[in-house]
Each structure stands twice: as structure tokens, then as C-alpha cells.
């Protein structure tokens, strides 16, 4: 079995990048809370995003099985446990995603490097044969919001290293009113930039090693989630 020196996933890289850019109130402490898997209180925005995705997934299942579990209310909304969402919006997104071959697919690649073996891993929202799509929700969307995020370079690099390169990575973003699409084409430059970020992040965690209480980031006891296939259309 290969020794893993670092096990890194895109959202922890994003936290580090936001901290560097001083974005979204990401602080030194909040970055290490993420590394150490310190769970904070779930915000309403996070809860709403989770239920939105569940609602989309329910509709995908309905489209595929013909068994509609969501009730369309007269005001044109679907209601979930705590929220209600515009039905036409959910329908549009679900229709787009219906041919996904897998959802919540765990993927990883081991990258040998001068600092050791780096395991890059994560869970991709929706997998298509030549594309991965991530569904995002936000209260305040602006164009190219996810341009500097680590997900599209990470998953496209993982797929390339596993011999199944992507043609594109798309973010399907909703502000609960509209849906927006951002498309990123994998390039060697994109992956090179990711590698530089990875090395920089590794320098960062090595320098501040004393702040790390959860050693998963150093490749110890990485939990492997169960994948959830939705079947092939």
C-alpha cells in the first residue's frame, strides 16, 4: 500500500485560498477548524442549500421513475421540511441533471511529488461521462463567482490521472430564483496552478503543524464515504 503523506480535498483548499484573499470572513482559525473537522453551527443558508439539493435529487428520481413524490403547491412552489423552492427552477435543474451517471461520487488520485505522495480526493456532485457538475446555492451570485475555486481543477486533475479526462467542469448555481452556469475547460495550466496551490498549502500546514489536531490531512485514517449511484439513463 502506498504511503500517503498528505490527503487534501478541494473545500479545504478553498478555505485556505479564501483566507489568503481575505474573502468571506475566512480566518486563520476557521481554516484550521476545517482542517481539524471542528463542526460549527449550520447556518440557515447551508440548511437551505442542503434541502434545495435534496429537492433537486428527489425530482431527478421522479423524472427517471415517473413516480412524483414532490407536491406542487398552488403558489408554484415545492415545499421541503423547512423551506419552499420555486418548482420551475427545481424542474429546470433536475431536467438538466437527469442523465448524470452518478451522484455524490467519491474519487481520488495519488500524486507523487517532491514533498511526498499527495492524495487529492473528494466527492463530486453529479458525474456525466465527460463532465462533472457541481450544484451550488448562494444568496448573492456574481458572474464567474467560482473562477478561482479549487473544485474544477481538482476533479479534472483526478479524472485525468485516472485515465478518464473531463471535457468540462460545470457549476450550476442557483440563488433560489434563477440558475446560472459556469463552464471550465481543463488545461495543463489549470492543473499546474492547482499543483502550486497544493504545494503552497502543504508548506502552510507544515509550518503551522502545531495547530493541527486531526491528522487526516496527513493521510492518516482517511474515511472513505460510500458512493451513491443513481443509475445510468
Amino acid at each position: 500500500m502506498e504511503t500517503i503523506n498528505y490527503a487534501i480535498y478541494p473545500s479545504v483548499l478553498d478555505a485556505y485560498l479564501r483566507f489568503k484573499r481575505k474573502d468571506d470572513d475566512e480566518t486563520f482559525k476557521s481554516v484550521f477548524d476545517k482542517i481539524n473537522h471542528v463542526r460549527g453551527e449550520q447556518t440557515e443558508q447551508q440548511a437551505m442549500g442542503e434541502e434545495f439539493e435534496l429537492c433537486v435529487n428527489d425530482m431527478i428520481t421522479s423524472i427517471k421513475t415517473g413516480d412524483y413524490s414532490l407536491t406542487l403547491y398552488q403558489d408554484g412552489y415545492y415545499r421541503t421540511k423547512n423551506f419552499k423552492f420555486k418548482a420551475d427552477l427545481i424542474d429546470r435543474i433536475a431536467t438538466k441533471m437527469q442523465h448524470a451517471t452518478k451522484k455524490q461520487e467519491y474519487m481520488e488520485a495519488i500524486i507523487p511529488s517532491h514533498v511526498g505522495n499527495i492524495k487529492l480526493y473528494g466527492i463530486a456532485d453529479y458525474t456525466f461521462p465527460e463532465m462533472i457538475t457541481d450544484l451550488k446555492t448562494t444568496q448573492n451570485y456574481k458572474c464567474n463567482k467560482y473562477k478561482d475555486h479549487a473544485q474544477h481543477p481538482s476533479y479534472s486533475l483526478i479524472r485525468e490521472l485516472n485515465g478518464a479526462p473531463l471535457k468540462a467542469f460545470k457549476y450550476l448555481v442557483s440563488d433560489f430564483d434563477k440558475v446560472y452556469q459556469e463552464t471550465y475547460i481543463p488545461t495543463p495550466g489549470m492543473h499546474q496552478k492547482l499543483m502550486i496551490t497544493l504545494f503552497e498549502f502543504i508548506n502552510f500546514i507544515e509550518y503551522f503543524k502545531d495547530y493541527i489536531t486531526d491528522t487526516k490531512i496527513f493521510g492518516v485514517h482517511v474515511h472513505r464515504p460510500i458512493t451513491d449511484a443513481v443509475g445510468h439513463a
Binding site: 461521462p129 468540462a168 460545470k170 434563477k178 452556469q181 502550486i196
Partner: protein, 173 residues
């Protein structure tokens, strides 16, 4: 242009960008974002040519950048410093503010600033040296000539990674 309609759905042949009923003056940010997203989608789905779309966008940016520059000093707020109009919050504030701390006579700041300048110079010199490495190279202990102290133990030095990307350069004629 490669078709990037990878959702495996039939491509809609109808126009996807419905902006006829909108006015640039009154749309809000989400509508502008939606317009941009639909244009990208039209290209991805093969309904619009990517290069033509980029040329249009570059020309549009040329026009709007020129107008933005020309309106500086002409556009004024009717009242107060904060104003809202057509889905825009507009406020007046000083921009490009800079402070010069050299004049403060603060010994701590002066010392930190001098350290930073010295470190910047040291980093630049070190980077110049690292640029000379083109392959992983074993180096011996590095000794401080003045103190005899080992400042870096023997190791393999990797060449720096050179980054850059191919871009399309436009010259409007």
C-alpha cells in the same frame, strides 16, 4: 468549437438569450448574471460560435470601458453621499487612498519596514539563484560565511515551476 453540451440533453434550437424585453438601465445584477450565463450556455450548446462571441464581448467591453472613463467627473449624485437608482447602490467616497507612514517617526514601524525591505531583497536574490536550477540538484550544507552556522542542511533543490498560459490577444481595428 467543440460541443460542450455534456448534460446529454437535446440542444435547444431556439434563441436562448431573451434580452429584448430588458433594459440595461433597469436590470438588476441577477438578471445581468443570467444574461451572461445564457450566452455561455448558447456557446456550450453549439448555438453560438465561441470566437464570434468573444469578439463581440471584447468590442462591447471596449465601448463600455470608454464610456465609464468618460463619465468620471460628469456623473454626480443628486443628494448626499449614498444613493440608490435602477438597482444600483451608488456612493461617493475617496478612492486610491494611501498613507505614508515614513513621516510618523515610529521606531517600531521603521524597524519592521526596514526588515521587510531587507527580506524582500533577500527573497529576490534567493529567487534569482533558484532560477538557475533546471533539474533537481543535490546541494551540500549551506554555511553562513560570517558566523559559520549551517543555514540550510544538504538536500535536493527542485527547479522552480514556471507558469503561464496561452491567451488570445485582441487588437481592435
Amino acid at each position: 468549437m467543440e460541443n460542450l453540451n455534456l448534460f446529454l440533453q437535446p440542444v435547444e434550437q431556439t434563441a436562448l438569450v431573451a434580452i429584448e424585453d430588458k433594459s440595461l438601465l433597469t436590470v438588476d445584477k441577477s438578471e445581468l448574471s443570467e444574461i451572461a450565463s445564457k450566452i455561455v450556455e448558447a456557446v456550450d450548446d453549439g448555438n453560438a460560435d465561441a470566437l464570434n462571441t468573444l469578439i463581440m464581448a471584447k468590442k462591447g467591453a471596449y465601448v463600455f470601458d470608454a464610456v465609464i472613463e468618460a463619465m468620471k467627473g460628469k456623473a454626480r449624485l443628486p443628494e448626499g453621499k449614498n444613493y440608490q437608482k435602477h438597482n444600483c447602490d451608488i456612493r461617493e467616497q475617496m478612492t486610491g487612498v494611501r498613507y505614508d507612514f515614513n513621516v510618523c517617526n515610529d521606531a517600531v514601524w521603521n524597524s519592521l519596514n526596514m526588515q521587510m525591505l531587507a527580506i524582500k531583497e533577500q527573497i529576490a536574490a534567493r529567487e534569482q539563484k533558484l532560477k538557475t536550477f533546471t533539474t533537481p540538484t543535490e546541494v551540500e550544507d549551506e554555511i553562513d560565511q560570517d558566523t559559520g552556522e549551517v543555514i540550510m542542511t544538504a538536500r535536493v533543490i527542485n527547479p522552480p515551476v514556471k507558469t503561464g498560459s496561452q491567451s488570445l490577444i485582441f487588437t481592435l481595428k
